[in-house]
């Protein structure tokens, strides 16, 4: 349920010129997202004021991206400009709150943009609680190059999101994934990177070799992935800025895949197959020193570190069907945590440490789900012909995953969903895409 501290109803009853409104409140304007929001919070974001002609187009674009970020969460609803009564023509002028109360805007975002002649933009904004007639937090100014305008917009939206939800934000983030093209029996794959919203798509490898399941390093400057570049599946580490890459060699005749970084950024946990048997190993990325974590005739794969680096959750079919297990990061006895009907795979530990996202296959359907780290409170968030490979938003509130459609013309696409199961959305990309890995919030 939505929990406006001040309900819509009382706001209307109090009318426009009610200075008591602020005193009626228990606290600041705040939307609680822990239990899932049914009724989004209405906000207005009039087009940011352009300080000069050169800034006009940027002001338009930046405002649009801020609104897309906020409304895209499903937590906020933009009141369209056509419904606005008030107009913001000067960033510094006092706000006429009655104009915004009249259209029931709970939150108001006001901003200005200026462009100097040297390709730099300055963006300023303030966030207001309309019914309290107060500013929420401080005004902020951001500066950057013109081609960084989207990041500035995301940063504004991140500020608004954080101030209104009390949660960390996630808009200024990127996703590394596998771009797909071609028919199902001859699919071309290449590593690609984009902003979380599908913008600024760039390719990191060409399409000559199969690439699978990239994962960001803790600093988001490197990517681990599996490639058939040598003819056999091997693990590579790629530098995001230069797209330069190197192989992490393992013993000859072995197949290595499913690599993920430990939080230390030096240790890599991965699957290694020898003699048809797949176990988990770690490797120090500097020294290449390898140690074995599991030793079982079953398949052990899809590992993921806990954010504190102390434990690893992974997938194993030691019980017959694939299930999820947790073990100490150094190996040792593993505890099974999944007990529902069906098969469980691709566990990924939440950046908050509280939940594990997974893929579940049951009765011919695939689901993305979350459970607590002890396996309790399992919750399925999606259902389709084929959903797999969840990755967490930096704030642990949203999951992105691969959804593949059925049949000969089947295509893979990226989707996102809240951990409440609400707000399922396709990531706007006009290419096939799979295996997303979400970065942290950019610095």
């Amino acid at each position: 349920m939505m929990k406006y501290v001040l309900t819509l109803l009382s706001a209307i009853l109090l009318g426009f010129a009610a200075p008591v409104a602020a005193q009626e409140r228990d606290g600041p304007l705040r939307i609680e997202i822990t239990e899932g929001v049914i009724e989004p919070l209405p906000y207005a974001v009039p087009v940011f004021v352009a300080d000069n002609a050169a800034a006009a187009q940027h002001a338009q674009n930046i405002t649009q991206v801020i609104a897309a970020d906020l409304s895209g969460t499903g937590l906020f609803r933009e009141i369209p400009a056509s419904a606005h009564i008030g107009r913001i023509t000067n960033f510094a002028s006092p706000i006429q709150f009655p104009d915004w109360k009249a259209i029931n805007a709970q939150a108001l975002i006001v901003g200005g943009v200026s462009a100097d002649g040297a390709g730099r933009l300055t963006v300023r904004f303030r966030l207001y609680d309309v019914f309290a007639g107060q500013e929420i937090g401080q005004g902020l100014q951001l500066q950057g190059t013109v081609d960084g305008w989207r990041r500035m917009a995301h940063k504004v939206a991140d500020q608004v999101y954080s101030r209104l939800t009390g949660e960390d934000a996630y808009f200024d983030s990127r996703v590394v994934f596998v771009a797909e093209s071609g028919p199902k029996d001859n699919r071309q794959k290449q590593l690609a990177i984009m902003d979380y919203d599908g913008a600024n798509l760039n390719y990191l490898t060409d399409a000559r070799s199969i690439v699978l399941a990239p994962r960001f390093s803790p600093g988001d400057d490197q990517v681990l992935y599996t490639s058939y570049e040598s003819g056999f599946p091997k693990i590579y580490v790629l530098d995001v800025a230069s797209a330069g890459r190197r192989v992490l060699e393992t013993q000859q005749g072995t197949m290595s895949f499913a690599p993920r970084f430990a939080p230390d950024g030096r240790t890599v946990v991965f699957s290694l197959t020898t003699g048809g048997n797949t176990d988990l190993y770690t490797m120090d990325i500097g020294s290449s020193r390898t140690s074995r974590l599991t030793s079982a005739p079953s398949i052990e794969t899809a590992p993921s570190f806990s954010p504190d680096g102390s434990r690893i959750v992974f997938e194993s079919d030691r019980s017959g069907l694939p299930q999820l297990y947790v073990m100490p990061a150094s190996g040792g006895e593993a505890q099974r945590i999944s007990f529902g009907q069906g098969r469980y795979g691709t566990p990924v530990w939440s950046p908050r440490g509280d939940l594990i996202a997974f893929t579940k296959q049951s009765k011919g359907r695939f689901h993305i789900g979350v459970m607590r780290t002890d396996g309790s409170e399992e919750r399925l968030l999606t259902a389709s012909f084929l959903d797999e490979g969840p990755t967490w938003a930096p704030n642990g509130r949203v999951i992105m995953f691969t959804r593949e459609s059925q049949g000969a013309q089947g295509q893979a696409r990226l989707y996102s969903v809240d951990i409440t199961g609400r707000n399922l959305r396709q990531v706007p990309l006009d290419i096939g895409a799979s295996d997303p890995s979400w970065s942290g919030l950019q610095k």
């Binding site: 005004g139 081609d147 960084g148 330069g244 691709t346």
Partner: protein, 191 residues
């Protein structure tokens, strides 16, 4: 009056510059497909085995043609280059063993050939698990052929998981053909 974001000028340049500029200047290293089995034109197989024994062609087969019993094409089409597996299984079926008996016999006669055994899975499974499952299937073939006298150093295994389906429908009729291990032979050394 404003709290300034603490990014300095240099950081702006580095972090907010267009990453495409950096990327486009980077040499994308040429990738080399070094798989020994590439000489086979039909690596992932797109033809069902056709029995050419009854084709009426008698004697004088062209070297390398499906009628030449020492050719890769003969191995693929007449001996049978693949075995199929049940859902989630890597156990060989009686039919699969019969095919592998033929493969072992052929490989013992044609000793100049090496083999790469490719394991595959259908699309009903997660990507990385299916990679491991494909490896299990390929290894089951390798172990069987080894037991039948094929030297292990003539063989290699690789798994493609669900990355290279042969049939693309989303039904069991297609899945059954995709759960396979294919023995791809070549005279190019595999190591």
């Amino acid at each position: 009056m404003f709290a300034y974001d603490k990014l300095n000028k240099e950081q702006m340049k580095n972090e907010w510059g267009n990453p495409m500029n950096i990327l486009s200047k980077t040499t994308i290293l040429a990738t080399v497909l070094a798989l020994g089995a590439c000489s086979s034109a039909d690596r992932f197989g797109n033809s069902d085995a056709v029995d050419l024994n009854n084709s009426g062609v008698a004697g004088g087969a062209l070297a390398g043609s499906p009628q030449d019993p020492t050719s890769a094409a003969y191995f693929q089409q007449t001996v049978g280059d693949r075995v199929l597996f049940a859902v989630d299984q890597s156990t060989l079926t009686p039919q699969g063993m019969a095919t592998l008996d033929g493969q072992a016999q052929w490989l013992s006669t044609n000793i100049e050939y090496s083999a790469v055994i490719e394991g595959h899975a259908d699309e009903q499974g997660t990507r990385e698990y299916n990679l491991a499952l494909g490896a299990r299937r390929a290894n089951a073939v390798l172990e069987y052929l080894t037991a039948k006298g094929v030297a292990p150093n003539r063989m290699k295994v690789i798994s493609y998981g669900k990355e290279r389906p042969l049939e693309i429908c989303s039904e069991e009729s297609c899945y059954a053909k995709n759960r396979r291990a294919v023995t791809v032979i070549s005279v190019v050394p595999t190591s």
